[in-house]
């Protein structure tokens, strides 16, 4: 008896919502209600804990993308349309024009801020980078042509002074630059730490050490040392 009541109620809800959505669909020229919309609405009323559909209604058009931090802002800071185009592309398309060409132009301009732009002096990040030689083309290849992604080595380690938190470059550029941090550390985990001063790292990298800091050297709130790691909200 109870089951019959639920079924009857559900049927009534289907008819009601279906009718309402049908009216809405008639009044809006841009999008009309579908059977799927009706079924979703009914499912949520009957069971608010129903699994959220992960793909339904998604056209799979990428509208935003982030790999390495601040690469987009740094390399496309003067060209919003190219910035937007870059954000809708897949990393395997990062080597195509016009985005790749624009990035190269910006890298050249930033490197030109240094008197010796073809010898990358990153001693502002770490003394062992002082003799590192990377020219414009190598940087372009590393940061753009090979994909704007974070690189991670699952066999790497980042054991730092506070558990998983370590020095900035060991995380952000460790895998890309392939450096050996100490004689005992053969590889870095890579990725990016929350407290990484990403802007300083890439500012230093892209200006070959001519600029090493934006004079903002820390966050306004403390990072949590355990899950979910990011700082408490204001």
């Amino acid at each position: 008896m109870t089951g019959q009541r639920v079924s009857a109620a559900s049927f009534a809800i289907v008819l009601t919502i279906g009718g309402l959505l049908g009216l809405v669909g008639c009044s809006k020229s841009t999008k009309s209600a579908t059977t799927s919309d009706v079924l979703d609405a009914v499912e949520e009323i009957i069971d608010p804990n129903a699994p959220i559909e992960m793909e339904e209604g998604i056209a799979d058009v990428t509208v935003s993308r982030v790999g390495r931090p601040r690469i987009v802002e740094l390399l496309f800071f003067d060209d919003q349309p190219t910035y937007d185009e870059f954000n809708t592309m897949s990393p395997d398309k990062d080597n195509t024009n016009p985005t790749a060409g624009h990035a190269k132009k910006t890298i050249d301009a930033l490197l030109a801020l240094n008197a010796s732009p073809n010898v990358l002096n990153l001693s502002g990040l770490d003394p062992q980078f002082a003799d590192l030689e990377l020219d414009s083309s190598t940087l372009h290849n590393m940061l753009i042509l090979s994909g704007n992604v974070l690189k991670v080595d699952l066999d790497g380690t980042n054991h730092g002074p506070s558990g998983g938190f370590v020095a900035v470059t060991e995380g952000l550029l460790g895998v890309e630059l392939g450096f050996v941090w100490t004689t005992t550390k053969k590889s870095a985990f890579g990725g990016r730490l929350p407290r990484t001063d990403a802007f300083n790292v890439f500012l230093t990298l892209l200006t070959s050490g001519a600029l090493t800091s934006d004079s903002v050297d820390g966050n306004d709130s403390a990072y949590r040392q355990e899950f979910p790691y990011l700082p408490q909200p204001h």
Binding site: A59, S64, V66, F77, P91, V152, F199, D214, P231
Partner: protein, 193 residues
């Protein structure tokens, strides 16, 4: 004859599906802030360094006192390339609806309220979607004038005092490889609708 050509053309058009990726034409002004990714983080867990953490922030710039915001018709994706071709081999997907969020991916399928931490049934994975302080800091606003040599960095953190909505997943490192043997991965975050 013309009718036959018309029918043939129609059949060809029907037979060759045009995918959304083929016709990407996004008006940036139509993308809500909560669908725009500000930052991506990937790092070891703490204190358990056998775990790996994926985190992305969206809706950054939100004032204090707000609530976590995801767009219900947007799919938030952590994309992972395991074979070096810069194409996603597997993904961790996140979507919200009516104040709840669901995470689905390799060994992951959890659903619960925004602002809470969820744990996978085996206890190995955690998921959080909630409000956080904007973890990024810096003076990006001065970059143009610095590059033009017409000004200098102000030293003012333009992101101080603002919040973001964060999606944070923690899991055993191997889950990032999606069950494969690959150890060197390319990872990025994206949103789609």
């Amino acid at each position: 004859m013309i009718v036959a050509l018309f029918i043939l053309l129609s059949l060809i058009l029907v037979a060759v599906p045009v995918t959304a990726e083929d016709v990407v034409n996004v008006d940036p002004s139509s993308v809500p802030r909560a669908a725009k990714i500000s930052d991506l983080y990937v790092f070891e867990g703490s204190p358990d360094t056998t775990k790996a953490v994926l985190a992305m922030t969206v809706d950054c710039g939100a004032p204090s006192g707000g609530t976590a915001t995801l767009v219900d018709d947007v799919l938030y994706r952590f994309e992972i390339d395991t074979d070096g071709d810069l194409k996603a081999d597997h993904r961790f997907l996140v979507r919200s609806r009516n104040g709840k969020f669901r995470v689905k991916g390799y060994n992951f399928d959890v659903q619960g309220d925004l602002g809470t931490t969820l744990t996978t049934t085996d206890g190995m994975g955690k998921a959080f979607v909630g409000l956080v302080d904007n973890p990024f800091f810096g003076d990006l606003a001065s970059l143009s004038s610095v590059v033009a040599k017409s000004g200098s960095f102000s030293g003012i953190d333009q992101f101080a005092g603002t919040n973001c909505t964060a999606i944070v997943l923690e899991m055993p490192r191997d889950w990032l490889a999606g069950g494969g043997q690959e150890r060197k991965l390319n990872i990025w975050a994206s949103t789609a609708r």
